[in-house]
């Protein structure tokens, strides 16, 4: 539990430091187009990786959890229908919850 607290505080410090960096560093440092592009693309790579890992992995083994995948599929449909963020999340969780409650998946 102490480990989680350390993780929380280090993450908070790191995130704040990054926000402050942009406000205080001289413009030249981050003006390289490749650096800018990297910072633009990093969230996409990491978030896509998180979607994949949290959907298909259980620790170090790859697994398929039908309820979870159904929930994710429901999220995709909600996104295609341009649903707001919270609706997407609730639809995804609700789908998985209902399938599990019914014992279907």
């Amino acid at each position: 539990m102490t480990g989680v607290w350390v993780a929380v505080l280090v993450t908070a410090a790191g995130c704040y430091a990054l926000k402050l960096t942009g406000l205080v560093v001289p413009k030249g440092v981050l003006s390289n187009p490749r650096v800018r592009r990297f910072a633009e693309l990093v969230p996409i790579a990491l978030l896509a990786a998180l979607v994949a890992v949290q959907s298909f992995a259980d620790g170090q083994s790859l697994t398929i959890d039908p309820a979870r995948l159904a929930g994710l599929g429901a999220a995709v449909i909600a996104l295609l229908l341009r649903a707001p963020f919270l609706v997407v999340v609730v639809v995804a969780a609700g789908t998985a919850a209902v399938l599990r409650a019914l014992g279907i998946a």
Binding site: A49, G59, L62, L72
Partner: protein
């Protein structure tokens, strides 16, 4: 109030309320992953950037990969440094005020600030968005964290799907931005899955950053001539 002052405040409060309530999803996901209510709330108060917070919650659920989880969460916050760069000239505060303003440099405040016609409106828009999202996000984090603990087991509520669904919703508008974005997303997911059996938990996600390096080297310019920050009129829902 003058007309020129109404718009930035209205933009900021509207977006802040709409996005801020997503804190309930984070609070639920955090407690569902094994964090305490206090840890979820402190993270919302002090980190205050949604993607990083969801990422850390996911790492806590994974168990062993806290170091990788922290590294991934911080790496996800790197875009805020670029936002700060864009906002530096518009937010001319000094000293303690600058230190406080820095905490508010996130997707939504950047979008509202850059959309204003002049510096005075930009500052007002920044403040309105920052204050509204900060209050709403932290309040709803508390509600979500409490609610998740009371209502039942995280698995039966489908809370294990909240993280992936939230991440997908976050990158959705970016995936639609261009071919490079989609390729980087797919490559990142593939790298993470391919290395999961061989690396400690959390590391595969860090390694996925290689896809962003490749994308930046191959395609240093955005595919279309779109602005490099989200605008409110085209803004898809995102969390801070």
């Amino acid at each position: 109030m003058q007309r020129a002052r109404v718009r930035p405040v209205r933009d900021g409060v509207a977006l802040g309320l709409a996005v801020g309530v997503s804190g309930v999803a984070f609070g639920a996901a955090a407690v569902g992953s094994g964090m305490t209510v206090a840890q979820a709330c402190v993270l919302s108060l002090l980190a205050f950037t949604g993607a990083s917070q969801f990422a850390l919650a996911g790492a806590v659920a994974g168990g062993a990969g806290l170091i990788g989880g922290v590294a991934g969460a911080i790496l996800l916050g790197s875009r805020n440094a670029l936002y700060g760069l864009r906002l530096a000239d518009l937010l001319p505060w000094r000293g303690v005020r600058k230190l406080i303003a820095a905490h508010g440099v996130i997707d939504e405040t950047t979008a509202v600030t850059l959309a204003q016609p002049d510096v005075a409106a930009a500052r007002l828009g920044f403040l309105a968005t920052f204050v509204t999202i900060y209050l709403t996000w932290n309040l709803t984090t508390l509600l979500g964290a409490f609610g998740a603990g009371r209502l039942g087991s995280p698995q039966s509520l489908g809370i294990d799907v909240v993280g992936p669904a939230a991440f997908l919703a976050l990158i959705w508008p970016r995936l639609r931005a261009g071919r490079t974005e989609r390729a980087v997303g797919l490559a990142g997911a593939a790298i993470a899955l391919a290395t999961t059996p061989f690396l400690p938990t959390g590391m595969p996600v860090i390694l996925a950053a290689a896809a962003a390096v490749a994308g930046a080297l191959i395609s240093p310019q955005p595919d279309s001539s779109r602005p490099d920050s989200p605008r409110p009129d085209s803004l898809q829902p995102e969390v801070p």
